[in-house]
Symmetry: C2
Subunit: 383 residues, 2 copies
């Protein structure tokens, strides 16, 4: 919380920042409206808008306000403020979008992946989607946010293959692929972390305006979770926080085994892979009666995860998502076991089910883009 030096320049940039933020919250405003929204006087706002127009960050749209009294001329953020690139990479396909500072999707492209073609088709698909978005939006891409369905190294942004865990997307360096198209920083993280962000935005925890503390358990082909502490997704030193495949839990016959091995012992892995066979798990759940051994074994194993999560992160709630994590029979069984633990934690299914990783990444891109636009106006030091 170091403070900036007091100077008249600082005051001026603060005024400009208020104008920009007002124009991000409202697509178009007259100068009088900006003054009303920000609480700053009309002459000061007029000056600020003039400076921003000169800088090319704001434009006079040529439109005029209607209503009683004199019509005011509308101003808006200039298209030159640019857009942010949002990319989602899953085994099913690559989705790329560009969003402007209002959160509007300017261009988007979806390239499905043929699973049998192997991991090496990912890079060309990414390039294809990227090219379409670049030509479709026509504006400069000032930063990128990438969601990938694999663990991500926090420093390099590369996808990481952990032992005994599936490598769904495969070896990939998204920053290198995006470098030519995106002029600014590229933030890469795994899909579960972005999905957790979407859940947070949807009001999953910390609804009382406070800081969110929850854990998002994502149970699909891979086994992952996101830890949200004090309102932020915590990635850990190298970005591998939440990679729970090797967590020690209670396996069949009460023995201590790693979570990933439970699926091997129950025969729930896809042939020749360490990935969970989602279809098989779901069909087992569908047929399950009370006391079904597979259902019980999975609930026992995951309740060990709940125990670890409660002990280390103390979440307000644990959110269940993923291809089989939200199945009603499983959630019910897990709740029964959770209630019997010495420390219980509420378990709820995820709120967002349609592409949560994409909306979370989009929200992050939007926030980053806005900060970047504001930052162009305060050169010397931050406030």
């Amino acid at each position: 919380m170091s403070s900036a030096k007091p100077s008249l320049e600082l005051l001026r940039s603060l005024t400009e920042e208020h104008v920009l933020r007002a124009l991000m919250d409202h697509p178009r405003l007259t100068r009088a409206e900006i003054a009303a929204v920000t609480g700053i006087s009309k002459p000061t706002i007029s000056d600020g808008v003039r400076r921003l127009v000169d800088l090319g960050l704001v434009v006079d749209t040529g439109e005029w306000s209607t209503g009683r009294g004199r019509a005011g001329s509308y101003h808006a953020l200039a298209p030159g403020c640019g857009t942010a690139l949002v990319v989602s990479i899953t085994p099913q396909g690559v989705t790329a979008e560009s969003v402007d500072p209002f959160g509007t999707v300017v261009a988007s492209s979806d390239v499905p992946l043929d699973r049998s073609a192997g991991a090496y088709a990912v890079t060309p698909a990414l390039r294809t989607a990227l090219g379409r978005v670049v030509s479709g939006s026509g504006r400069r891409l000032r930063l990128g946010v990438v969601s990938a369905a694999d663990p991500v190294d926090r420093d390099t942004g590369r996808l990481v293959h952990l032992p005994d865990a599936p490598f769904l997307v495969g070896d990939l360096d998204p920053r290198a692929v995006l470098a030519s198209a995106v002029e600014g920083p590229v933030l890469v993280d795994n899909d579960v972390n972005w999905a957790a962000r979407a859940e947070q935005a949807a009001g999953q925890a910390g609804a009382a305006g406070g800081s969110a503390d929850f854990v998002y358990l994502y149970l699909d082909e891979g086994l992952g979770c996101a830890v949200v502490s004090d309102g932020e997704v915590r990635r850990g030193h190298s970005g591998l926080a939440g990679e729970i495949a090797h967590l020690v839990t209670e396996g069949p016959e009460g023995r201590a085994v790693r979570l990933t091995e439970v699926f091997a012992r129950l025969g729930l892995r896809r042939p020749g892979s360490t990935a969970v066979d989602v279809e098989q798990v779901r069909s087992r759940f569908a047929d399950a009666s009370d006391g079904d051994p597979t259902l019980g074994a999975l609930a026992t194993a995951v309740s060990g995860v709940l125990e670890a999560v409660t002990a280390l992160a103390d979440p307000e709630v644990v959110v269940l998502g993923g291809g089989w994590g939200r199945e009603a029979a499983f959630v019910d069984e897990l709740r029964r076991r959770s209630a019997a633990l010495p420390r219980t934690v509420p378990v709820v299914p995820a709120l967002v089910d349609r592409e949560p990783q994409l909306s979370g990444a989009r929200a992050a891109a939007l926030e980053q883009l806005r900060e970047l636009v504001v930052a162009t106006v305060r050169r010397p030091d931050r406030v």
Copy 2:
């Protein structure tokens, strides 16, 4: 990151803030020195100092600088800025201190506790120590920071008794006891979290100026840990993050058991209690040869904790502390097992061994006190 409204008042308060911070970093300065340190011009600093003297936050010490040139009059923070109370509560005794904005301990008191007298002697001991510090310092206590050797509820500040875990200090509401002596907020947290803060200050992790991500495993009568993520101790929703007693790990004979039960099965608990018998553990370690079964069983159980910590928090390093956690034989054995895990994590003994919880709490109190002093100068909104 909402910004303050631009106003001349903001500029003025920013100047005053710089003066205050300069006088916190250096016990006494002339106005010319303040101008040199802050980079603000001399007339502006003179004005700011005059205003702060009028407010009673700064005093002319009456002393004069020496050296070449004209002697300048020294200024310093006024004693009226107050002090912060720091309290450490352990089964061994209660320590209370008051620190001024420079980090100088103004008064301190230590009241040992007779363990056999039971938990009910804690409150009177706390009152005694508190009374001595209040009369010894003679200045107002503007806030309090309390370290307690038990889990702490984040909202209420009360100590919490978890099932199957020892309750060392016993039921206590530190805020209620301190309310009459401290005029401001009282922050209560458990000793392990404060000790982790001290380790961080000692440069344990994130030494490259970056944000620290590490876990502090505290193995003593109680079993606890602190999770430091992105440079801050993360407490979780209700403050119970790091209470690992119920973590599922590998117990004797390879069965899945909770960490606290391992000690019961090995006969390492104090009679009639859920607390670990530290003396017995240490003597077992002292006699242990290679392959000693107790040493091995404990290392196995704790390596399960390492596994969970790695999976969920992904620390740069795991710091071992507490009465038996730093024993060389144990650390060596744990390192051997850690190296064999699919995901390894460096394990190091704690750097700070003398009252780490106290120095961590003191650092927090100092930081809070400084912020509080600075806050008196910026009334309208924060920067």
